[in-house]
Amino acid sequence: MIEEIVKLRNRNFSWDQIESKLSIPKQQVKQKWRRFMTEKKGLEVKNELHAIFLSKERLYCRWHLQPRLLEAAFYCEKPLNPEVLDLRIFDVTDIYFNGANAHSVTCIKVTKEDCSWVIKGLKRNRSYICELGYLTEHYTFWPILQSHPVHTSYQRNTDYIFKLRAAEEFYHYPFDAPNWIEHPDCLR
């Protein structure tokens, strides 16, 4: 029943038209539609990977990975071991990260059931991006989720001097995106 309602709704039928077409009261049609939409919403939990500073040298990675997405990924690229995922931390300081140009990378094996990990020993004044993926049959890393980039704090508080020029320029000409990493809520 709901399939038909959805079909008709998608074809821009009005409630009245659906009522007469399927001969069920408008109220019921609406109710069914509403229930369907809420359920659908429940399914749309986001797949995401977050990286949050616990301290200046530790990062908390937290991910939500829908089994469906993982299945889809496995369909595209067969995993070496479907039970094991790879959490990777790339040092992306001062580069546009393209997957192949990171200064360094750290790999952490996690299980399919894990959903968070604490990464320790971050270096000072470096940019990092985390990715969650797995090794394919061909022993290559295949990413599924990517985090927002983060930048660790300076080594010394006088290090601000390195970005002083950029900060001044941004103040006087704030139309270009700043050339440093910002809070994810700051849309650019």
Binding site: Q27, T38, E48, H50, I52, F53, L54, S55, K56, R58, Y60, R62, S116, V118, N125, H151, T152, S153, Y154, R156, N157, T158, D159, Y160, K163, L164, A166, A167, E168, F170, Y171, P174, P178, W180, I181, E182, H183, P184, D185, C186
Partner: protein, 757 residues
């Protein structure tokens, strides 16, 4: 910035509403809050203009102090603690901390800043937009309390990363305090720091730091223990370090900062994040639609959520559980488009002390112009039921808010056909045959007269909307609206179905069909309670209608006629509610009747419900027939008379989200004894506006009943205080403001319909 800072006082006493609920004047929690915030007030009052005391405060506490409850608690406190450092000052502000703070800010003796509402480090939010929303919400609450955005918002744990400067600017902030750790203060002591977006930055350090502090500002945490000590040597502390105007401006960018970062301290722990995480995700469970389903109290969801995070990050388990319950309850209702508005309002006005109404408008709705024509079959001095008072209160309150109001009602032998009372134009006409015995016929007669007069009035006045009350004037209203293409609002006070618990005869059916006709022709319906909305939807096929709940609140009536079928039972304790387990009436069975001084005291418990017969039998089994009376259904009149003549009203609920009925008892100036649960706890302030007892504990209840019966003066005082609170909560101004919103909405929708056709 014109002011220079020396010390910032951090009033970081936590907000624990459960500790405050049911608190007495001597309870620790109130004393702590009064010490911390009173100290702040007294200190600022001593400050010299231009050298303000700078303080960071908790917005939840401030909101609570601004709410009905908080003000009352403060007033009672200063009455009993005459020598408290802030007592005199607060007395001159009628117990309003906010007003006192406002004036001190205006005199430049105080610079007050909020911590961002949830106290959650802004760098640690996982949900997109949550940090930005937190700051915006903080600014909105602040704006409602103080009329302007905050000069700055304190960042929890000093956590900062680039971009937060922009979020702060969006929230209206001019500067920010950041941990001194991130600045080369020793190398460059005399620098005026700016973020790349031009937000001024003041580095601060915590008080306990060893050695010479280089930062301009020291953070002093004031807790209730040191508040008084701190206040004693305020002069010493208040040495203001002048910030020389010649100091160099320097832009600074750094990737991350938080308090004690360089000491290796953690910003947040995994446990803290995991504790907050489920709460953060709750936010995804509602959208604009849910918010607008709660109508003008839509901000309540965000506030509840913000408090959940606050409680989670501080590890207040009980508070968290109760706040999550509250949020879930509201959300559940909103999702079904059936929110408990009473409860939402109560949370906003009692608990959070703000309305956040400005957040609501999803679409811009113009204010309705012109006059409103109110149709009612009775209007003072012609008073038969409650409607006359309702329309009277509404009309006068609408006039005082600037609306032109014309009341059209039945003629009354003592009153003129036209008069103006307090700005309300009152016209009286019909019916022609007052002696007609057929009630329906007489009503039709009246309606035709009202219709004729109404047509005249619409020609004469600039009427924009017709508002009728109940079916009695429904026909005239429907006809007038149709003929003149005017929007029609109907307030349904009661229904025939509800009055008679079903429809049993021809007259009742006829009336119900008139009610249905009115409902279907009205553009908007107003009802006074949530159950009534439900009733209309179920029994009156009004699912499609816009039905707004505007709590009628409690009526502040003069005395109703005293004698009822229960008069012979006096003196008695009264209780009323549905006969279901959660209402807790079973508690009565175990009270110590013998220990009650007034041995002949009776207990009248009114209401219908599935357990009524069981409980009646239980009474028989225990041989308490001459003491406890489950009287079943009582009419409105009887209920009022019972409230009026009882010694005290008892509400033993085990679960009670709102408990408006207790407010009703308060309106009758009766002492209320309530179980310390949910909604009841929030306005029954122990020993102030009533007494609280442990839910289900009969012994405790007996003690509280004795206390009331043995101390009539005390009982009277509780009754009067309760009356004040009820009045404050349900003023006509509040009701008329909500009604105005419904008018605007209705006119707006009607216009849109016009566009469509």
């Amino acid at each position: 910035m014109k002011v220079s800072f020396s010390n910032i006082l951090m009033a970081d006493h936590p907000f624990r509403p459960l500790a405050l609920a049911g608190s007495t004047i001597d309870s620790e929690e109130i004393i702590k809050i009064m010490n911390v915030y009173g100290c702040l007030l007294a200190a600022a009052n001593q400050a010299k203009p231009g050298k303000p005391v700078t303080a960071v405060v908790n917005l939840f506490v401030l909101g609570w102090l601004n709410g009905v409850r908080g003000k009352m608690a403060v007033n009672t406190f200063i009455d009993h603690h005459d020598h408290h450092m802030s007592a005199d000052l607060l007395r001159s502000y009628d117990g309003s901390f906010i007003q006192a703070f406002k004036d001190l800010i205006h005199e430049r003796k105080l610079l007050l800043l909020p911590v961002s509402l949830s106290h959650y480090p802004l760098t640690a939010y996982t949900a997109k937009g949550a940090a930005s929303d937190d700051l915006k919400r903080t600014a909105a609450v602040w704006k409602e309390l103080f009329g302007a955005p905050p000069a700055s918002i304190w960042l929890p744990r000093g956590a900062y990363m680039p971009g937060i400067d922009e979020l702060l600017q969006q929230a209206g902030c001019q500067f920010v305090f950041l941990p001194g750790d991130a600045f080369p203060l020793e190398e460059e002591p005399d620098v005026h720091w700016m973020s790349p977006r031009g937000l001024e930055i003041f580095p601060y350090e915590a008080e306990n730091r060893q050695g010479n502090s280089q930062s301009a500002v020291t953070l002093v945490s004031i807790t209730e223990e040191n508040a008084c000590r701190w206040y004693a040597d305020i002069d010493k502390k208040q040495t203001v370090r002048e910030c020389s105007s010649s100091s160099a401006k320097r832009f600074i960018h750094f990737p991350l900062a938080y308090e004690n970062m360089n000491k290796g301290q953690e910003l947040i722990t995994v446990e803290e994040i995991q504790r907050c995480e489920p709460i953060l995700y709750l936010k995804e469970e509602w959208d604009e639609k849910c918010r607008s389903a709660i109508y003008e109290a839509g901000g309540v969801l965000d506030l509840e959520w913000a408090y959940c995070i606050y409680a989670a990050i501080h590890g207040f388990e009980e508070e968290l559980a109760s706040a999550v319950d509250s949020l879930r309850y509201l959300l559940d209702g909103a999702r079904k488009e059936f929110p408990d508005l009473d409860y939402a309002h109560q949370r906003m006005r009692l608990h959070y002390g703000v309305t956040l109404s400005s957040e609501k408008p999803v679409e811009h709705i113009e204010k309705m112009e012109g006059a409103v024509l109110l149709l009612t079959w009775e209007y003072p001095p012609n008073i038969v039921g409650g409607m006359a008072r309702h329309v009277h209160g509404l009309a006068e309150s609408l006039v005082s808010s600037g609306r032109e109001v014309i009341v059209l009602t039945a003629s009354h032998h003592e009153s003129p056909h036209y008069e103006v009372v307090k700005g309300v134009h009152i016209y009286r006409t019909g019916p022609l045959h007052k002696g007609e015995r057929d009630f329906l016929k007489q009503t039709s007669d009246l309606n035709l007269c009202l219709f004729q007069k109404g047509t005249e009035l619409i020609r004469e006045y600039d009427v924009s909307l017709i508002h009728t009350h109940d079916w009695l004037t429904g026909d005239a209203a429907v006809l007038l609206a149709e003929q003149h293409q005017l929007p029609l609002v109907a307030t349904i006070h009661a229904t025939e179905h509800g009055r008679n618990n079903g429809l049993h005869n021809e007259l009742q059916h006829a009336i119900a069909s008139k009610e249905k006709a009115l409902i279907s022709s009205s553009d908007t319906i107003i009802v006074c309670s949530q159950p009534m909305k439900e009733e209309l939807r179920v029994f009156y096929e009004a699912i499609e209608k816009d039905i707004y709940v505007i709590p009628n609140g409690v009526e502040f009536e003069e005395r109703v006629s005293g004698s009822t079928r229960f008069s012979h039972l006096e003196p008695f304790i009264f209780s009323i509610g549905r006969m279901v387990f959660e209402k807790g009436f079973q508690t009565f069975f175990n009270i110590h009747l013998k220990s009650l001084k007034k041995e002949n005291i009776q207990f009248i418990i009114a209401g219908k419900g599935p357990l009524l017969e069981n409980w009646r039998e239980e009474v028989k089994k225990r041989g308490l027939e001459d003491r406890i009376h489950f009287v079943g259904y009582v009419s409105d009149e009887e209920r009022k008379a019972l409230f009026q003549s009882c010694e005290a009203a008892v509400f033993p609920s085990l679960y009670e989200p709102f408990g408006i009925v207790a407010l009703e008892a308060m309106a009758f100036q009766k002492p209320v004894i309530a179980a310390a649960t949910g909604g009841l706890k929030s306005f029954v302030l122990h020993k102030q506006t009533g007494l609280l007892f442990e839910p289900g504990n009969a012994e405790d209840l007996s003690e509280k009943i004795s206390a009331i019966l043995n101390k009539p003066d005390f009982a009277k005082e509780l009754g009067l205080n309760g009356h004040e609170m009820a009045k404050e909560l349900y003023s006509w101004n509040h009701i008329s403001a909500q009604t105005e919103k419904v008018y605007n909405q209705t006119v707006f929708i009607k216009k849109m319909e016009g566009v469509r056709t």
